[in-house]
Amino acid sequence: MEKTKKKGSGFSYLIDNIKHHKMLYLMALPVIVYYFVFHFLPMFGLIISFERYVPSKGYFGSEWVGFDNFTRFFKDIYFGRLLKNTFQINLLDLIIGFPAPIIFALLLNEIGNIKFKKITQTITYMPYFISLVVICGLISTFTKESGPISYIISAITGNPPQNLLASPGAFQPLYVITNIWQGFGWGSIIYFASLSNVDPELYEAAAIDGAGRFRRMLSVTLPAIAPTIVIMLILRIGNMMSLGYEKIILLYSPITYSTADVISSYVYRVGLVQMDYSYGSAVGMFNSLINLVLIVAANWVSRKVNETSLW
């Protein structure tokens, strides 16, 4: 009884809120529609992961096979390797890649010369706007036997130059480093935005208390942008399992499958190239479930530890 009452009041509260902030809700509307049409409606299609889906027979005409596709995936000889690669690449990317834009923003924040700051910012954004296909074209050309990157590596190690994309050991570092190069400028924008909100009086007060530059960065700047960092981290973890598979598909080849093949690239190969739609979607659904668990866990940890969370 009380429950329904509460619910009712929550709803009328929402109506009230909408009346007060019409413009905000209006701005949000296209996004809500987008998510509904492109992310919620297609979930219906997940039904095919429990079938042996044949396009011409449709969702209801195809043979129902229950969890067969899932058990097939768990028994797949690549299951362990896919899981390992997925976590390994994403963790590397997270541990090395996530702090990069933060450090960059903090460093650039310390620079007084506005003009230099602006130019640096603009230049570092640029790789983000180059199409991924072109980026991967550049990477594979530069890492050929005769490519400059292979040449530099060979000068450092003393071995004759090798095609780096043909060596399984080099794939993950190459992937993560080029990811950082592509994204750190763009990723730092949001931190710049929150840095500009820090009250300058705090810096003055800290300076009067005798805090040096580094101390001020640690005690004033970082706590000020900490909520943003946490939110970004949770979002990042939520994206972890699906991040960047296009780039993997563009760069890998059978010789590097052992270190490069991840769940999402496997879904692409099985589901789209080999037309095993149901199996592909079962693997994809497994991927999404891991994703969901990760984001809920990250949010929970964050709420317990530092009281910032998405919900």
Partner: protein
Amino acid sequence: MKRGKMKKWASLLCVLLTMVMILSACGGGGSDTGSSSSGDTGSTEDASTGSDESTDAADTGSDESTDAADSGEAGTEGTGGWNVEENTLPIANGDIELTIYIGFAGGARQIYNSMEEQDIIKQMEEETGIKLHFVNPPENDDGTFFTTMIASGDYPDIISDSFASYPGGPTAAMDDGVLLDATELIQSKAYYYYHMMDTMDPEVREKRIWSDDGRITWFGTVFAPEYLDGRVHGGFLVRKDILDKAGITKLPETFEEYEEMFEAFKAEGLTPWSVALKEWQFRDYSPVASAFGLTVRKEFVKDGKVGYSRTAPEYKQFLEIMHNWYEKGYITSDALTQSTSEAQKKFQAGEAGAILCGSWEIITLESVGKANDPNVEVVALPYPRVNEGDPITTQKQFILNPDGRRGFISAKCEHPEEAVRFVDYLYKPETIKMTAWGVNTDEHTLWEEDANGNRQWTEFMTDNPDFDYEIGRQRYTMNSMQGAWDTEMEKLQYDIPQVQQAWSEEAWFDNTSNEGVCSNYMTQTTDEARELSQLQTQVETYGDEMMFKFITGERSLDEFDAFVEELKGMGSERISELQQAAYDRFMAR
């Protein structure tokens, strides 16, 4: 209090949503540029390397040894049913539209927005009275356009594809309701198709166009003229000028002689063998592996028994030689990632000594090479083998029904009879001439005919400052819709000394036989075929990866036995078993 919290919540949500919106908008823009730029690179690549025929011949391969088979029981399923009425034109009166899924050649894309603008298509519409529309996969598509089209459930009327990527192949697609089993329609309406086969060996006809369960699955394919039949269409091509310089006068044939040649190339600072190990040329021509009676990744036949190449003990010898050549630098690490066109570009640029190529590519490879360096001369070699004169037992080489692509009628087609008659119209002798030579219009004259009816290209095609011959053919002729290749036209392309040398006993043809390969025309039942595609994908993906690792030395060859065990565990023996059954049925047809 509560109100304040809710407000915070709502504003946070708004901020997040806006942010996501901005990000996703940017993402969308990015991928747009992505696809368009890939299209651009695609067209240049296609222009420099790609004749449509290269893919045609790629999927070739058939079995020569038909004589052994007993033709007595051949016709039980089908032949009786032929009762063809003449296919008179026009087929319709402009009131019927057909949509066709087919490849759109890169050279034509440069000047036409769609295939409907091409002269040949306009002529076809006029003659048949059918309005044609086209669905084309993007250039350099990896096959996912086709698969998503199939997944959409929305099919064009005629689908030109091999359906090799469809799990279980064309018969499974018929059972699933993707394709129409048009056997009866073909037997009653496909007049020109029937008469074309009449001119061929009847045994050939009965053996090759049927599936084991009595359905016609090779309607709409491209027939090769006798002139191209029974040739070896691919193999090694090397720089003759460098052989001469190094004093190698006898064409290398044994592995030792090959190594001697590679050393000579290396001494000149060239990549000895510029090969693309992940591409079909290496897999299908199967150099080195063929010396041991095997193929690189498929099954082989020995004494009527089908075996799986990668589990045969001789496969280790193939891997040993490849690894040895990799270690010595005859094959470089680029071979693992590059495409065939990249490999061939190195050869054209004078940076490589040897490549694998098809007979249709020889002339381009030499002429581009000569443009860079006038000294360049090319020569084709016999396949490498252990001892001189050893037979090379397996290779996909004999072209009979050259094209894996066929004209399938989709199950959604509303005018199946007209669709069958349209595909049949492509086999009409006049249509074949037209698709091979193009249509002369007011704007351009492509060919001239002398009093005896012999045709020659005009300078517009052979000596045009705006495009080379290959691009010209892609623009003004229609390779993809030919019912058969025109002998006269093909001869112009192949009657040159370089190709004749490659086709001779001295080079690719040297002591080769085709008895060791499984024919492309073997068929399985739908269930078998489904099982087979699933097993093959698994086993081949794993096998490819390990093959590369053995070649580079990432894995030691001591592990070969474990590799074989693993393959067997994954079902390689079941593959041989299924293929054995199909082989036996095929031989008994």
